[in-house]
Symmetry: D2
Subunit: 268 residues, 4 copies
């Protein structure tokens, strides 16, 4: 069996190393999750079980990949930020993104029953992933702001949309028509005047998404805390003691001022 | 919420389209499966449950990705061959490899209990993946030959190694020492003279690995067949009716002569 | 002087190796040659001096890069075909394309006075370049056909356009307007009926462009031949004895049948 | 002539856009300039004509590429720094590097007679080029420091090497042997004790290389100045009035403090 005769095919594997000195962000997105959420009867507009499971799977990624300094998730997506000078897998693009997306998926499926106790998985869900490089802190923050702004915009829309459907009996098409061309202020007004809802009092989990960061190592007393509004409803062992689960604004300065170690991860 | 202000970060996403006209091969590999197989008490050197599960997860990939014309697996790896002119995801490298590895992982975890009825998953297993492009049929075949030759070499080694450990009571270190520098013929001889085993009569599943191809569409009478030596021990619905599971030589000419549609997939 | 302190910056150089097994084509194009041809009073629509100089510069590339098996040029562009299995510069994309474009440019400027004896260069002309990979012979031929078809289409247009301007006194704008929407057959008809020109009798240099191939090594008696219609008007030492300069059709089969060694370059 | 039939080959051109937000450095190097300098009788260890020509060709690049904020050259190499947010050629790697290397080469050949009045070019010289991305100012400066440190190290070596050959009559092999394993301090000592040369008083052109920057626009009174020690020996019209030619240290802070506009080029 002339093994060596075939070995030349390895030369077709082309290096895909990420540029050094850049933040490596892996973003994963659920594939066809519109259908997936229908089939599995997700509560609309936000299903706490699904959001909790997403968060739990993301925590697994942080547990295994020590160079992830922050993760941000909303809806069916999660972004993982590797520190600028990580040398994980020699910074090989494919190696990084496939390991992350595979581990996330694996945890999502394995932990499913802990979050969906009465709803079996009907088929294997999957996620795609991509690596994006951001060369400095400012642009990395703009990336995260982009995702959190997206969370807000979608959640505001979905909140009104589903209120119109669930409480007013509009069809999805009618609801969509009603919202066409409305501004954020219009949507806030509809919520307030028609449903007596002050959008800003809705759970931050929905409005801000989920931020995962590592607890500072000296900060032992705070371990295992979770500010998640729904964390108490699950067994505490679902969560990683060394990771904080936050639902806070990361667009403004205060978060970053409070957690300077995230962007200064090189020095840790 | 000035969304547009942050949208510029999308320009950091760089196109990674695969060269047209080339076979796209996605190969996935289990991450740290040596440890994984220990923790989950895999039978050595070959665990039929694990091989069956790998095959089932791979079939799920073929079910969802119609442009995969062949998959080849052995041990904890699987290679998926997309036809040369596929336009799946506009041939974007990351999109293809992450979707495949995620779906495979998802199926692996979801279908685990069907194959390991008495052994729970202890933690989420994961796989890495890569895309490799092969510009013509000859090189693609050499790639597949490389993997199948690798299967043979490893299986022969592992078969003798574990016989020495399991039947002769050697420690792993002693067994390794015994096999150091031996040729294939030496290993065959050890099997024959010391264990009365003719290597060539061992199951083809072990010696050849697993080949998945689509049944010819006109070939309705053969649907749902599986030549897998272990398929009968599982429920028939574990397998895809339109996919053949083979354990045959793909290095020589005869397989390709028998299945000309694989390399001529463009015309299908 | 701590040299090593800075050496880490080399890690920012990312490998850009070309996929093995593919034809490597380097195509170079004149930068702003519309302006360049005006400033240097090129004869329109075809300036034999310029075409001769382009051809001579391209021959220099073939002299220095032995793995170029064919070059095709027209107007201000030239394509160089490296054999499939070339290992020049370890197939590094940037290395290959920059060396070719630099040598071509250098020869173009250095040999300028031999072709433009009464016209000094007014400023340094330049060319851009790119590498494109073609995975098989059929697609490579289609690439070359694409360039030669482009040569024909542009030359037919330019021939009529300049006839209308030079002989009929139309302004460029009027000439352009006259040709708007015309088919090839219309343009042939204008040439024939208004200028008594049978397009197919115009020099093949204009209609077919320039093909450079290496003389077969056994073919010593034919060395230094040039089928170029204008080669006799220049000193013979302008041309490389081992390279044939042809103005022939490369879209049809006959050229390739006559020169099977080009596509079979691997075996040479 | 079915043009469209062949147009599909354009899909084989793969995008090679440079990551936004990074400094784009194009470095070009002379190909086989050891031989080239011998054939053209360069003065060793430094030929002012050659260095002047390199500088002049580099100035041409700055004249045509307005987004180059600094160029640094030494020996047969030159590095061009494009500002971080340049959108030249949509940041396409090949387009940028080939245009720069081609224009540089073209100017080098065209301006050759102005610098080498008594020495004709014997054959077309060429340069290779590469793009390297640097994600922040600190790393960019380290890159430039790397090149200038290299200039110093090589020049010190070459200065002693050629003194030993030219003044002491050593063969090149003997000179090389003499210098084997010597430190910088040793070489300085040889120069001082054996040749009465204080290395630090040698021309900065040799010791520091050449820095090209744009004159500040308000700085009209200083236009056309050149601090080059050899500029007076050539016609003033060889030089670009808006570009300063400096031979200064760029490793330390003072250069950058004096020219903050270079790194802040975005704001210009």
């Amino acid at each position: 069996m002339a093994k060596s005769k075939f070995e030349y095919v390895k030369t077709f594997e082309i290096e895909d190393r990420c540029l050094p000195g850049c933040w490596i962000v892996v973003r994963i997105d659920g594939k066809s999750f519109h259908r997936f959420s229908d089939v599995h009867h997700f509560v609309k507009p936000n299903d706490e079980r699904a959001l909790g499971l997403m968060s739990r799977a993301a925590q697994k990624v942080l547990e295994d990949f020590k160079d992830v300094v922050l993760a941000y998730g909303q809806s069916d997506e999660f972004s993982f930020v590797f520190k600028k000078d990580t040398s994980v897998y020699n910074r090989r693009n494919s190696k990084i993104v496939t390991n992350v997306v595979s581990l996330f998926t694996s945890a999502f499926v394995l932990y499913w029953p802990r979050f969906f106790s009465t709803q079996d998985l009907q088929y294997p869900p999957s996620f795609d992933g991509r690596v994006v490089l951001y060369p400095n802190d400012e642009i990395l923050r703009d990336y995260l702001s982009w995702r959190q702004a997206d969370c807000h915009i979608n959640n505001l829309y979905n909140t009104v949309f589903w209120k119109l459907v669930q409480d007013k009996g509009l069809t999805p098409a009618q609801s969509q028509q009603r919202l066409k061309g409305t501004l954020s202020s219009d949507k806030n007004e509809i919520l307030y005047s028609e449903f007596d809802i002050n959008y800003n009092t809705l759970p931050e989990l929905y409005r801000k998404g989920t931020v995962l960061i590592r607890n500072k190592e000296t900060d032992g007393s705070n371990e295992a805390r979770s500010k998640s509004s729904f964390s108490n409803s699950h067994k505490s062992n679902l969560f990683s003691p060394r990771i904080s689960v936050l639902h806070v604004d990361i667009i403004g300065e205060s978060f970053w001022r409070e957690h300077p170690e995230i962007l200064n991860s090189k020095k840790l």
